[in-house]
C-alpha cells in the first residue's frame, strides 16, 4: 500500500485535496480573500511602477509639491477596505462557529498525544494499527481508520506537553493541551488516506509525530474495529506489535526499525551487563526490562540520564504484554547494534 500524499494530490495544487465538510467554506473564503488581495496588490504595484517612471527625476522636470491631501480619496481608501474586512471577518467567524459546534451522535475517538506519537482508541476499546509507509521520514505510522460520510469527534488529551492535531485535507486543527480535554469534530466526505501532523512544537522528534487517517466505507470500518481489539497469540509477534503500537519505536531502535534516539537501542543488549548513569552495572535481563518499562528513570543507562525522559508504562501494559515485549527484546540478542 502506498501512503504518499503526492500520489493523491496534484503536485502543485495550492490546497491539498479536501475530504471533510469544512472544505467548501474554507476554500471558498480563502479563494475570495486571495482574489481581493490580487485586486489590491496588482494596482498598487502598477501604480508604484508607473509613478516611478512618470515622475522620475530628470533634467527639465520638476514635480509639483501640491498634491498633499485629498479628503475624498483618503476617506475612500479608508472606508472601502473597512467594508471588505468586515465581510471577511463575518464569513470567517461563521465558518468557525460551524467548526466548533459539535453535532450530536458523533463517532468518538480518544486521542492521546505524547512525545512523539499519536495514540488512537476507538469506541470499542481497540487501539490503532501501525503500518509501514514508504518514502516517508518515519517508516511506520499509526493509522486511524474512520468511516466515510459520518460525523467524527476527537476527544484529545496530552500526556506531557502541548501538541496540535492537524489534518490538512480536513482543514481541521486543534491544540492538544495537557491538563484538559480539547475537542475537534469533522464530517468525512471522501474515502482516501490523509496525513495527520502535530503542529505545535513539542521537542526533539516533533517533525516525526505523524500519523495517517484512512477514511473507508462503513463495512471496512467495522472490520477495522474488530481487528483493533485483537493482539496476536505468538508472544514474539505480539511483542513486535506492541513495540510499534505502544510507541517504543519512536525513541528506541530495534533491528533495522525505529528511531535512533533519544532512547537506547534494543539491539544486542540482552544478557549483557550494561553500564548505568549512576556508575554501576546491571544485568540486562527480564527484571531489568520490566523495571525499565514500569519505572524508566530507576536505572537509566549511561549516557541517557539527560535524554528526554521516558514516561512510565505502569498501568498501561498487562503482564502478558510486558512478557511479549521481553520476548521481542530477547529475540534481538544477537542483532548487531545498527547505526548509533
Amino acid at each position: 500500500m502506498n501512503f504518499i500524499l503526492a500520489d493523491k494530490v496534484q503536485p502543485y495544487a495550492w490546497f491539498p485535496d479536501g475530504a471533510s465538510s469544512f472544505v467548501p467554506q474554507v476554500d471558498f473564503l480563502f479563494t475570495v480573500i486571495m482574489w481581493i488581495c490580487v485586486l489590491f496588490f496588482v494596482p498598487i504595484v502598477i501604480a508604484m511602477g508607473y509613478f516611478m517612471w512618470a515622475f522620475r527625476e530628470r533634467p527639465g522636470y520638476r514635480g509639483s509639491p501640491e498634491a498633499l491631501h485629498n479628503n475624498l480619496i483618503e476617506i475612500t481608501w479608508t472606508v472601502v477596505p473597512t467594508i471588505i474586512v468586515v465581510w471577511i471577518f463575518w464569513e470567517g467567524a461563521m465558518g468557525y462557529l460551524d467548526m466548533s459546534r459539535i453535532p450530536k451522535g458523533t463517532i468518538d475517538v480518544n486521542v492521546t498525544a505524547k512525545k512523539w506519537q499519536w495514540a488512537f482508541k476507538y469506541d470499542n476499546g481497540g487501539e490503532h494499527e501501525v503500518a509501514a509507509v514508504e518514502g516517508s521520514v518515519v517508516k511506520e505510522l499509526p493509522i486511524l481508520v474512520l468511516p466515510v460520510d459520518r460525523d467524527i469527534k476527537m476527544i484529545m488529551r496530552s500526556d506531557d506537553v502541548l501538541h496540535s492535531f492537524y489534518i490538512p485535507a480536513f482543514r481541521a486543527k486543534r491544540d492538544v493541551v495537557p491538563g484538559r480535554y480539547n475537542y475537534l469534530w469533522f464530517h468525512t466526505t471522501k474515502e482516501g488516506t490523509y496525513d495527520l501532523f502535530c503542529t505545535e512544537y513539542c521537542g526533539d522528534n516533533h517533525s516525526q509525530m505523524l500519523a495517517k487517517v484512512k477514511v473507508v466505507s462503513e463495512a471496512e470500518y467495522q472490520k477495522a474495529l474488530a481487528k483493533a481489539i485483537q493482539e496476536p497469540e505468538d508472544p514474539l509477534e505480539r511483542g513486535k506489535l506492541l513495540y510499534k503500537r505502544q510507541g517504543c519505536s519512536t525513541c528506541h531502535n530495534a533491528g533495522a526499525e525505529g528511531a535512533s534516539g533519544p532512547g537506547p537501542s534494543y539491539n544486542g543488549s540482552w544478557g549483557k551487563k550494561v553500564a548505568l548513569e549512576n556508575g554501576s552495572e546491571v544485568d540486562f535481563d527480564e527484571n531489568y526490562v520490566r523495571e525499565s518499562i514500569l519505572n524508566p528513570q530507576a536505572k537509566a543507562r549511561k549516557g541517557y540520564g539527560k535524554a528526554s525522559p521516558m514516561n512510565s508504562y505502569a498501568g498501561k501494559l498487562k503482564d502478558e504484554q510486558i512478557d511479549a515485549l521481553i520476548t521481542f527484546i530477547k529475540s534481538l540478542e544477537n542483532t548487531a547494534a545498527a547505526g548509533k
Binding site: N110, K121, I155, P178, G179, R180, Y181, Y183
Partner: protein, 371 residues
C-alpha cells in the same frame, strides 16, 4: 510650555564659546532650565510607575484567574496568613507614606534637618515592615507552607520542627546593622556632622528591623495561643488527615471536577489538573469546609502559596529597592543639596514609595482578608 519659551529667549544670547556658564551644577547641561528638568524627571517617574503597575498586574491577573477557578483553595489557605501582622504592616506603610510626603515638603522649604529626619523615619518604617515580613515568611516555611511543588504542609503537620529560618533571614540585616553601628561610632568619633547625619537614620533603620522581628514574633505567638484554644481543630484536622491523601491526589480531586464542555463520559479518570472546575460546584455544595481534604495538597494549596510568595516577594524586593534609594537621598540631604528649585529626586522617590505602599494596600485584603 510658555515658561520654556521665555527662558529660551534669555538663553539664546549665550550660545557660542561657553554655553554652560548659566547652568548651575544641579541642572544637567542638555536641559534649558530647572522647570524642564523637573518636568522631565516627573514624567519619567510616572511612566516608570505605569510600567511597575503593569508588572504587578501580571500577578494580579494570575491571582484573579486561579481564585476564580479554585475559590475554596484561596479561602482555606488564606486562613494561614496572620491578619494582625498584615494589618500592622499596612499601618506601618501608611505612616511611612506620610513621612515621605512630609520629606518632600521639607526639601522644598530647605529644612535640611527635618528632611533627613523624615527620610530616616520612612526608612525605619520600611525596616519594620521587612522585620515583620521575615517573621511571617519563616513561620510559614517551618509549617511547610511552601510554593508549588515544595508544598509539604500536609506531610509535616502544623508544628513542624524549628528549623531556624528566622535566624537565616536575620543574618544579613544583623551584619548590615553591625556595620552601620561601626560607621556610627566612626561618625561620632570624627565629629563629622555629615557622617552623623547619615549614620543616625541608617542605624536606626537597622535597629527598627529587629524591632519589627520582635513585634512579629510576639503577635505570632499570641495568635498561636488563641488558635490552640479556639480554632484548634481547624489546622490540625488538615494536618493529620492528609498523609494518606498524598498518594492519590489525583483521585481526590477528580470528583470535584466537572467539565466545562459538558462532555459525554470521558473514558479515563480526568487528571486533577483539569481546567474549569466550575466555581458553582462549591457554592452549591453546602460548605466550604468539606473539600479541605482535597484542598490541602500540593496541586491545590501549593498554587496559592506560589502566588502569595511571588506577589509579596516581588513587593518586598521593591521595598528593598526603595530603601536603597532613600538611603541615597539621605546622603544627598545630609549634604544639603535640595532646595526649592531642585527637589525632583525626593519628589520622584516619594512617588515611587507611594506606589509601593499602594500595591500593598491591594495585596493585604486580597491575600489576608479573604475569609
Amino acid at each position: 510650555m510658555t515658561a520654556i519659551q521665555e527662558t529660551h529667549s534669555t538663553t539664546d544670547h549665550h550660545h557660542g564659546d561657553d554655553h554652560h556658564h548659566d547652568h548651575p551644577s544641579w541642572l544637567a547641561h542638555h536641559f534649558d532650565d530647572a522647570e524642564q528638568q523637573y518636568d522631565s524627571g516627573k514624567l519619567g517617574m510616572w511612566l516608570f510607575l505605569v510600567t511597575e503597575v503593569l508588572f504587578f498586574s501580571g500577578m494580579f491577573c494570575a491571582y484573579a484567574l486561579y481564585r476564580n477557578r479554585n475559590p475554596e483553595v484561596f479561602e482555606f489557605c488564606s486562613s494561614f496568613l496572620n491578619e494582625k501582622l498584615g494589618a500592622i504592616n499596612t499601618g506601618v506603610l501608611l505612616f511611612s507614606s506620610l513621612t515621605m510626603a512630609w520629606a518632600v515638603r521639607a526639601a522644598q522649604l530647605r529644612q535640611h534637618q527635618l528632611l533627613v529626619g523624615m527620610l530616616g523615619a520612612t526608612l525605619g518604617c520600611a525596616a519594620i515592615f521587612l522585620g515583620v515580613k521575615s517573621v511571617e515568611y519563616s513561620h510559614k516555611w517551618e509549617l511547610g507552607l511552601l510554593p508549588g511543588k515544595f508544598y509539604v504542609a500536609q506531610l509535616e503537620g502544623h508544628h513542624g520542627p524549628h528549623k531556624g529560618y528566622l535566624e537565616m533571614l536575620c543574618a544579613v540585616p544583623a551584619l548590615i546593622t553591625f556595620l552601620l553601628a561601626a560607621y556610627a561610632v566612626y561618625a561620632w568619633a570624627t565629629k563629622s556632622i555629615f557622617h552623623q547625619r547619615v549614620a543616625g537614620p541608617l542605624l536606626t533603620a537597622g535597629i527598627c528591623f529587629f524591632g519589627g522581628v520582635l513585634l512579629g514574633q510576639y503577635l505570632e505567638a499570641q495568635e498561636e495561643a488563641s488558635k490552640s484554644h479556639g480554632g484548634h481543630h481547624e489546622h490540625h484536622a488538615m494536618a493529620q488527615g492528609h498523609v494518606d491523601h498524598d498518594s492519590h491526589e489525583h483521585a481526590a480531586a477528580s470528583d470535584t471536577h466537572t467539565h466545562d464542555h459538558g462532555a459525554p463520559a470521558v473514558p479515563e479518570v480526568s487528571p486533577a489538573v483539569a481546567m474549569g472546575g466550575s466555581p458553582d460546584v462549591y457554592v452549591a455544595s453546602e460548605e466550604v469546609n468539606t473539600p479541605k481534604a482535597e484542598v490541602n495538597q500540593r496541586s491545590m494549596a501549593g498554587l496559592f502559596f506560589s502566588i502569595y510568595y511571588c506577589m509579596t516577594g516581588v513587593h518586598a524586593i521593591h521595598i528593598l529597592g526603595g530603601m536603597l534609594v532613600i538611603s541615597w537621598l539621605i546622603i544627598k540631604a545630609a549634604r544639603e543639596e535640595f532646595h526649592e528649585q531642585y527637589f525632583g529626586p525626593v519628589d520622584n522617590v516619594g512617588l515611587y514609595w507611594h506606589l509601593v505602599d499602594f500595591i500593598w494596600i491591594y495585596l493585604f485584603p486580597l491575600l489576608y482578608l479573604i475569609t
